[in-house]
């Protein structure tokens, strides 16, 4: 004799099915977004696109210098991207910098403007001053990647 499952058992099974479907759809769209965005970032490094670029400029005035870094990026994925850059200059180094943070909505193209003012520029070029920087790229709301860089070393290499 066949027995009908209870309403609770049927409901639980339906909820499990919905949860699984939502997980699969979210994972697929996340995978697609991550692939599209990573390809976009790689294309900047490998030659550049009209919609994505990194430009750096250093204006030297005597012993001081101002470094301008502009990162233009287009969000080709399906989820918002947040991009932030922070710098932690060593105490007493007379280095100041802004900490820009921007959010790209899907299909949007925006530019991150980073400015770092250095009083003793020659020390940076000589590689004597290390400025810890942190780049945080997040594929909202699921994942984020934090990259620790030495901004002083980057500036020195740019000059070299």
């Amino acid at each position: 004799m066949k027995r009908e499952p209870s309403i609770l058992a049927s409901s639980l099974r339906s909820v499990a099915l919905v949860i699984t479907l939502v997980s699969i759809v979210t994972l697929s769209t996340f995978g697609y977004s991550a692939y599209a965005d990573v390809s976009n970032v790689i294309s900047i490094v490998g030659g550049g696109l009209p919609t994505a670029s990194i430009t750096a400029e250093t204006v030297v005035q005597g012993s001081a210098a101002t470094v301008y870094l502009n990162v233009t990026l287009a969000n080709k994925g399906l989820y918002p991207i947040s991009l932030s850059l922070t710098c932690l200059p060593p105490g007493g180094s007379r280095i100041t910098c802004n900490s820009p943070s921007i959010m790209f909505l899907p299909g949007q193209s925006r530019t991150l403007h980073f400015v770092m003012t250095v009083e003793n520029y020659s020390q940076i070029i000589a590689g004597n001053i290390h400025v810890d920087g942190q780049v945080v790229v997040a594929l909202e709301p699921f994942a984020s990647i934090t990259v620790a860089v030495d901004l002083g070393n980057l500036v020195a290499r740019g000059e070299g």
Binding site: R13, A143, V147
Partner: protein, 151 residues
């Protein structure tokens, strides 16, 4: 939609074989292949798992799923299936170090945080671990209740 069918030994064995093949691919073959790729391309692997971990947990998950399929319709299948879902959730959690991975490459420190994504991946397994005993208790309660026609 969810009408219950009588479970025969033929159904149980065919389901056990299916569970064995699917779980072997999902929890042993694919992770081993991915671990080989990661180990081959990176000097320091950000993933804390080893082949021993994959084979051990793969065996546990496959064993529990196959036994759960072979005892389908019996009370003993409930802890087996629930245990396999808990093992799957832990396997996923441990494989990505709780969703926080760190890597050093070309003098730069990289840190990846995928905790929200990890919880989403673990959710179906954890929900199933709760659903199976609850559904069984609901079925038992329903079966024990006297039919209204005879009350």
């Amino acid at each position: 939609m969810f009408e219950e069918r009588p479970v025969t030994w033929r159904t149980r064995i065919s389901r056990a074989i299916t569970e064995f093949v699917i779980n072997l691919i999902l929890w042993v073959i694919i992770p081993s292949f991915l671990l080989g790729l990661i180990s081959g391309s990176l000097s320091s692997s950000p993933v804390p798992i080893t082949y021993a971990f994959i084979y051990t947990f793969g065996a546990i998950i496959i064993g529990l799923q196959v036994l759960g399929a072979l005892t389908e319709g019996m009370v003993v299948s409930i802890p087996l299936v629930t245990g396999s879902h808990v093992a799957v959730a832990y396997y996923i959690y441990a494989a990505v170090n709780g969703g926080t991975l760190a890597l050093t490459a070309a003098g730069m420190g990289l840190s990846l945080d995928i905790r929200p994504l990890l919880y989403l991946i673990m959710l179906p397994s954890l929900f199933s671990a709760v659903r199976v005993p609850l559904a069984y208790l609901a079925e038992e309660h329903e079966a024990a209740r006297p039919a209204t026609d005879f009350a």
